[in-house]
Symmetry: C2
Subunit: 225 residues, 2 copies
């Protein structure tokens, strides 16, 4: 191990466990906070302690992708941030569309965290003709019928699905047909996507259920996924 050479392991990324990717983005977030606090370097044990993992876990996770540390020193925050962004693919901007401008959809349009991480909400869609043609948070709202065309002209790569459960699969199908690479589904239903399209589900009530289970069973705090 000498000067960081991210080209050493570089394994088949298909074999990286999803849990590792989850933690990676947690490391990224924590590194940014450390930088904001004026730190130049950090270590696997520091990162681990802060996040509820062991130091070995942090190192093993990173080892999937290369060598980023400096023995005796730890990790240089900026260096590691850049490396993780590259791994996650967030070292560039991504154009994102939202479908469903309800309560949650509006919140997503206004969420500044997306912008800060390089996600550009370039278009929104809604079935309500009243909303079509208006702008919310500077994002124009289009009719669902125009989805394919707008997606193409705006070069959208990712979709956020924030429609009622009953509409989620149909909307997902349309996004996929329009060539989206992945979606985040906020509807409380499991949608299916073809192979080669990726998918993450966020269900707010389900998150609360994880807490009620723990409270009802008086468990101890879980590390953050």
């Amino acid at each position: 191990m000498n000067s960081p050479n991210p080209n050493s392991p570089q394994p088949d990324p298909t074999s990286v466990p999803p849990a590792v990717v989850h933690r990676l983005s947690l490391y990224l977030r924590e590194l940014r906070h450390r930088i904001a606090d004026g730190n130049e370097t950090t270590s696997s044990s520091q990162l681990g302690r802060r996040l509820g993992f062991t130091d070995a876990q942090v190192r093993k996770d990173l080892a999937h992708f290369g060598q980023f540390g400096h023995p005796g020193i730890g990790y240089r925050c900026n260096e590691l941030v850049d490396a993780i962004r590259k791994i996650l693919g967030t070292d560039r901007e991504w154009r994102v569309a939202l479908v469903g401008v309800g309560n949650l959809g509006r919140a997503l349009l206004g969420y500044r965290g997306f912008y800060q991480q390089g996600f550009r909400l370039a278009a929104a869609f809604d079935a309500d003709p009243e909303k079509v043609g208006t702008k919310i948070e500077g994002v124009e709202i289009f009719a669902i019928e125009d989805l394919a065309e707008v997606m193409s002209t705006h070069k959208i790569e990712l979709g956020l699905v924030a429609v009622p459960a009953s509409e989620a699969q149909a909307v997902t199908d349309q996004l996929v047909a329009a060539g989206v690479g992945g979606i985040v589904n906020f509807a409380p239903v499991t949608v299916t996507v073809p192979e080669g399209v990726s998918k993450v589900g966020v269900d707010l009530a389900r998150e609360l259920e994880q807490v009620t289970f723990a409270v009802a069973n008086r468990q101890r705090e879980q590390p953050e996924t």
Copy 2:
């Protein structure tokens, strides 16, 4: 195995892996959809196929908590829904408070899925004096200074943290001091809670990062956590 007897295994719930609890709430959601579609029963293989797991996985997960199935028949949907709700602790109402009535906070106040699953948003808090005293979606907004008192008079058990990252730890501490059993943290920072309090983190940008990783590395669809 005969008539379901949920009292057989009934193991130390502390030993149940978090991943099992995640899937449990997915089973619950899917069961409800099946009931809504008019089905009386389902099977581990049907549930599994729909959700992207094996049938054995579904059965093993349930086996942590008892015996709920009927050989040759499968699971009676209503029966299993009741059992899972009991396990998750959602067989009763939970009183929930929201801290931070910004974009996301307002969306959470208006989210009907919470109500449907038995979560009652009984109070909201915000630092902005303009908002204090008003109501959004029928929920009254209080000053953060009054948090402890309001939490107690409204018998709040769970908290939703939807404040900026810089405030999240302080708010969490106040909720914990007010006796909350668990929190869902929407701020993009890892907060710490004492043992005995449970915590779930939801970071919208992180969810998108899981997708960009998959797209950037052309992976295949992941089963839903």
